[in-house]
């Protein structure tokens, strides 16, 4: 094993007092401070949402954080790995059952990033939503929801606003890369809407930034 690799592994996961989880370089333009610990985050449910969710997990996962996907039986582990998620630190709870709020609450105790797909059997009352958000805040974990809107409104919400695959013709070629536009809006410091264009994924399967021009749209 290379010394550099050992050094990488021996480095502390988070320094004392560090309140944010890192994100991959492609997302730093829209999330400059990383993912704020203790917050809630919504990922839209349109095309590209799953890839965006995995890309959000990748930065922290590569730095040693644990992540859990709840109620997402169909997410492809191979795609998660190519996005940069460490599969050794990714727990999947495909079917959390009727008592799923208790399961999510338990996961928030020791896992930094917990992503839940709402909808179907996973419905939520506002009181439970408040309790889960408070749990995430107390345990300094990040709660991510997708599939349906969070009843209470989230600290941050990310969405894929436009996207298209490249590399596929009519009867030739194969899917190679996808250019997407991701928009983020939220409360407090993040109330200004930001937008970025990135490859999700690029030719090598990883999410990469396309350019660094940050487009700030004024409402």
């Amino acid at each position: 094993m290379e010394v550099a690799e050992l050094l990488e592994r021996a480095r502390p996961v988070a320094l004392a007092g560090q309140r944010a989880l890192p994100v991959i370089p492609a997302l730093t333009s829209i999330l400059p401070g990383g993912l704020c610990r203790g917050g809630t985050l919504a990922v839209g449910s349109g095309p590209g949402a799953t890839s965006l969710l995995l890309a959000l997990l990748a930065g922290a996962s590569a730095e040693g954080s644990w992540a859990a996907l709840v109620g997402m039986p169909e997410v492809g582990p191979e795609a998660a790995a190519s996005m940069g998620v460490d599969l050794g630190r990714l727990a999947l709870v495909p079917d959390p059952g009727e008592q799923w709020p208790a399961v999510v609450s338990a996961l928030l105790d020791g896992i930094d990033l917990v992503a839940v797909r709402l909808g179907g059997r996973l419905r939520l009352r506002p009181a439970e939503a408040r309790r889960l958000a408070a749990r995430a805040r107390h345990q300094s974990s990040v709660l991510m929801v997708t599939g349906a809107p969070w009843p209470e409104g989230c600290d941050l919400s990310l969405d894929v606003v436009a996207g298209g695959w490249e590399g596929l013709g009519n009867g030739y070629g194969s899917l190679a890369r996808r250019r997407v536009e991701v928009a983020v809006s939220g409360r407090r410091a993040a109330s200004r809407r930001r937008q970025a264009t990135l490859w999700l994924p690029d030719d090598s399967g990883r999410p990469e930034p396309i350019d660094d021009t940050l487009v700030a749209l004024h409402p």
Partner: protein, 504 residues
Amino acid sequence: MVWYPDWPVVASGVVGPVAVIQANQVVVASAEARSEGVRVGQRRRQAEAVCPGLAIVGRDEDRDARAFEPLVAAVARFCPTVEVMRPGLCAFSARGPARYFGGEESLARQVAEAVDAATAVVSGTMGEGCRVGVADGPFAGTLAARRGRIVPPGATAEFLAPLSVRELGRPEFADLLGRLGVRTLGQLAALPAPQVLSRFGWEGAAVHRLARGLDERPLDARRPPEDLSVEAELDPPVDRVDTAAFVAKALADRLYAGLVKGGWRCTLVRIEAESEHGESLCRTWRHDGTFSAATLAERVRWQLDGWLTGPSRPTAGLTKLRLVPEEMVADHGTQLGFWGGMAEADRQAARVLARVQSMIGPDGVVTAVLDGGRSPTERATLIPWGDQRAPRRRPELPWPGRIPPPAPALTSAPAGSVALEDSGGRPVVVNGRAEPSGAPARFRPDRGPELTVSGWSAPWPCQERWWDPDGHRRRAWMQVAVEDGRAFLLAAEGSRWSVEAIYD
């Protein structure tokens, strides 16, 4: 010392040649299986090859511990202070009972008969394998029990002298001693103690004491300064094993935290329980080394399991549980690994995931490992959390015909047939050479609106396992992009199209 050979085999209750398997390797084999050539450490396939009638059972320490409880109860009729070392091995002080039951030989015979009778009830087989040995100290006692010997007091060093250093149960250390020409315990005991300590450190000093027929550690005359026992009132009373296990874990953690605070480690713990009807149960467990929080919790769970499911179960639920550390040694500390190892975050995540497993079942929490295969669902295998993360097929092989990267983000999409039509509304089919009958223009999933195709790849054929009549599959794959920005992976089998994955 009472020893039951191959206890996991007996506890499984299977007769004939049996092998107990863990992680595809034989860990224990019955005498019949050994005579056929089955060896510990063999792979399952090798074992089955040398002994075709071999019955395979999985390793289950809970089962072993549960089945052992009636035997301990049988021994406890001779002497109430029985110390369980592990399922299959327990010890008691012979000095008092030997006098009462007419000498050590007589005591050993009576204990063996009682244990064999209890085994016959437990496993339904003829119990005749129990061996009892008497010697000074638990280490020599175990060796004496293996040989069914009764060593007179003070003669333990002579008994140990001709035995091999491999009997110490420390293979690496025994290997080193062997290379230095020290092959028997007698030769090791003859070395001067200070030199052994300076050459081999604390481990060598402990082993040297064992070889001389003494206890591993010198007697620690200091008494623990405080009462470190922990206790839990159970309200409502507990009569189910899973609930009891939860309490056991919490209580063991508390005891361990108390020990750590005082700088102690525990080698012998007494587990006491009281039932609603006032019955009191008590059992002592000894550890070869020192208990960690996890091993402590495990022993408590085994014991509760044994009590609550055994033949002499209490008539009502348990109301009180108490753990008393009986024998403690000073904690000299452990040096944690400098590079890597398990970080605190990993330990915390492991605890949380185990807790979620206790809520929704062990298969409810899985981790994924990349695997070999062609279709997107084959490219990863889901493994229950806690099991060994090993791929089933060989991921490093090229797997010709597999789906080209990038990997689709949604794999096991809801299976269902889809309609694929060309611009004239005719269904698109592929022929035997994977050529489409027309250019796909519209795409209608099982549910949802019709989508307009914006791009499609040439279908490529994939024939899998042509030699296998059951596993044989012949498919044509095609990637289709639609106007809203999504892309699908479709497979044609026969004349039906289905969505295999979504590039979400």
